[in-house]
Symmetry: D2
Subunit: 299 residues, 4 copies
């Protein structure tokens, strides 16, 4: 299995080598696109894909994502970043470069339900999720077998609300040790403290098993069944202090009818959860998501 993954990764290696992305957010004003594209042109960078969005043509916020290719990227990236600083200053930009050859490190947190974990591992295993997964953390033992069978370290850290601080201290240490870029809560059923969340701002992706903002909180399928809805959904979002209130990345739904009880809904819903979370994680890996206030721009 690992061979398929390795082959796919190797075959993309050359392709990735000279690719980068530039993400920009600033007040809208004339001349931004002109300045940025002129800058890239001067550095022999060829634009592969470019997307932009302005909240309001009259004095709104400007967002941009450019994917470009430039020869010898590794050796000239410092110069590239340095030369961008004046432009960034001129337009008061939030900005960052992301280099495709620097594969992102993603930690997965999971509890007892394994369907979302499996979808991610599967995509990873087949080489379609271009991330490193240095570790999986769980407050239960159910996931150990599948995780370790793929050669990924599995950390069992029992958790409950009374020991939250100690648990998170251990988790934070692991995230640091493994130099994790972002966390995926693949049905991790523990509430995180504000400190933990603050330390990982916009770097924790959760999957909630309802079409938010409907059925915030616990047992959404049971409540969907009680309410008699005709569609059920799932929502992937960044985690903020307010439970299930963070910026939404992706949502999807599936049709149900009166014959489906809450168990059926749960089963149907798992399929939506899997694909919604997988899409959100891929967009994160491709640097397609910009958070603005409590919303996401997905380029």
């Amino acid at each position: 299995m690992k061979n398929i993954r390795q082959q796919k990764i190797d075959s993309f290696q050359e392709l990735r080598q000279n690719k980068a992305r530039l993400l920009i957010h600033c007040p809208d004003q004339p001349g931004i696109v002109s300045a940025v594209s002129e800058y890239l042109y001067q550095h022999d960078a060829n634009i592969i894909e470019s997307s932009q969005y302005t909240t309001d043509p009259k004095g709104g916020e400007f967002f941009m994502r450019i994917e470009f290719e430039a020869g010898d990227l590794d050796s000239k990236k410092e110069e590239l970043e340095e030369k961008f600083i004046p432009i960034a200053k001129q337009f008061a930009m939030d900005w960052r470069f992301s280099y495709v050859y620097q594969v992102k490190k993603m930690a997965i947190f999971v509890s007892k339900e394994l369907h979302c974990l499996r979808e991610l591992l599967w995509e990873w295993q087949s080489g379609d999720l271009t991330a490193d997964i240095p570790l999986v953390i769980s407050n239960h033992e159910q996931a150990r077998e599948i995780v370790e069978s793929l050669g990924i370290p599995f950390y069992y850290i029992p958790a409950n609300k009374d020991i939250r601080k100690q648990v998170e201290a251990k988790q934070l240490q692991l995230l640091k040790d493994y130099q994790i870029d972002f966390i995926v809560l693949a049905r991790y059923m523990q509430i995180l403290t504000p400190d933990f969340v603050a330390a990982q701002k916009h770097r924790i992706i959760n999957i909630h098993h309802s079409f938010l903002p409907a059925f915030v909180g616990a047992k959404p399928y049971e409540r969907a069944y009680e309410r008699g809805v005709k569609l059920i959904g799932a929502t992937s979002h960044f985690v903020t202090d307010d439970l299930d209130e963070g910026p939404i990345i992706e949502q999807d739904i599936s049709r149900v009818d009166h014959r489906d009880n809450s168990e059926d809904m749960k089963k149907i819903g798992q399929s939506i959860e899997r694909s919604v979370l997988a899409r959100a994680v891929k967009w994160q890996l491709d640097d397609r998501i910009i958070v603005h206030k409590n919303k996401t721009i997905v380029f």
Copy 2:
């Protein structure tokens, strides 16, 4: 235009003449289907379509809808109903017969936004909505032209929360005069009193412009935009005393993204509202909906 409608109606006339539907709700127990189908067989009624549902195989509730055909239905329907009474008693049934040739009378209430009204009038005009629409009631004048151009009486009854009782008194009188079977609120933006709702139990169908239970109440598109959802929806439901809390008949959604402002969402949403409401109304006309507690069974 009316000619198309009339032609279609005439062509179905013979087909409809001998068709009826029997709707049943009772505690589940062995022998119900056997008793009902034996009864229909004895009365030379041929089952065209039959659907049933049990909430729980062990001691649940039983629901059934049978569409059947029987020669000379009009002349023998009294006997048919009378002979069914012992069976209904034996199984403690809620039941009703509905004769397809008795075309249902539907009143439409509307305010300023006409897209749902138009969808219904269009389907009616093309002969695909087999209802009579004896009148349209509105608290605004916008709909008059289109309604009267189709030869349907239009009643303008200005409304606000201070004169709610008087307004509803006029409306109730009209419903009585025109012998209305059920009401469709096609974006009627006035709250109905509990008395009015109680008098029309499960006979008022509303369209709410969100995917309930998300965004209950006013301005759902604005709130959907503020929340940054990736899908917007519409919900058709029976009206109960609790605003937007009645039994859901049908829902659907459409994808939106960060570029869509609340105006765009409103426009995209109108298309969903139209089709969701049209489906709910058709199911109502076909006697496909049974309300059980706060849910619907749609056969």
Copy 3:
């Protein structure tokens, strides 16, 4: 009704006044975006929306659509176009400017089935389709009433395969007289000659009542029913000489099951046809579609 339309149109008038779109197609090479955005910046044009696409990062084709705003657009548009010529030459561009205040003139051709025509007229009437509809042409009389009731001239031109040339001569004269920009075949059931099509290259939008390339040709719903498909669809495409083989603009589908006969499928399908055609027409009006070989890029 016309008042709603007029109000909406008036309210957008100012907004539209200074808006334009620039569409570009050329061989990909570094510097295009830089040159175009610099040019717009120099002419005080503010980019509102910009999309680009390259078929292949290595030596492919480059496509771009920019929507921009510039003060006094009407008075300076000639200069704007003239100054663009050197850039266009440098990069070997196909290009065109489109001014939003120049409302496009669209002719609708229809036969007996009116659902697509109605959808378009409805959107037009409510001010959401920013086109002029100077005339409707039909080979039947069914549409006359609805068309004339909206004050639009209706031309009845009977047609069959033996008189195709004469019919098209009349049609071409009308298109010329009314200075038509493009044609919508809203279920017009006559085959067009190669001459007619050639004279309107990429300016005829058709709706085909199947999910192309399945069920090319006549009676697609009947054939879908015979084949036992579980989904039916509709396709909007530009008309080329090869029947139903032109560049696809938009497609959508709806679920059916074994209970749906070909009549039911037709009815369900009409709803898809309406929305698919309406979307394609809106994208055409917004200059979002670029045809490349036998495909469309929809920005």
Copy 4:
């Protein structure tokens, strides 16, 4: 992992013990439902779910699926079947009983692409696919690791068109040895001979990676890309002699756009293939599919 599966299976054991399904197909005539439901009532069988369909109310074909529960089913099933024979004769029925405790044996055939195989194994492993999978057969070695890791025998049988007969002889022997009920072609890229297909009539389920009847045959994603479609799909169907022409069980689609090349379409399509095939297999296991001519009725 196997523990989760075993637990789930055990927990349903009791539930399954006394459940059966009766499938019927006969010419429509009055009295069928009455006779069948009376018969079940007399044998103390409680109807859990019942569905019926008539192709045409006037002289069509009648289809029925009844799921029922009866105490001591195992000991009385012979009597049950025997007593049904007179009814079956009276109405000229095709019929069969299916006992839920007799878990169906399903063979999976696969080539190099493993996504459909994995989806099925995953569902099986988590106890949601109530089948036995006694073996997997492949003409390649790629699937061996995953199959054997779950304790399922894996048979590698190299195949090509010159040795088709010998290959199928081996396969048939294995199907016989393992007493296989039906076969799932989970992306098995070899054509089967008419003899093989005839021996397994309506017992081979295939997944085709297009929205049939579009793109029958090889390389559908490449051809979908060439044609410029805006939706891609997948189709699960029973295999017949005519390639990709067998009765369709389930279909679904996903949206694509001009940016998706054939590789992207393939990746997007795999997700549809997985879910479409999984649904078809579940319906097969639940005896929900009746084949009639070249179509399926899915109850």
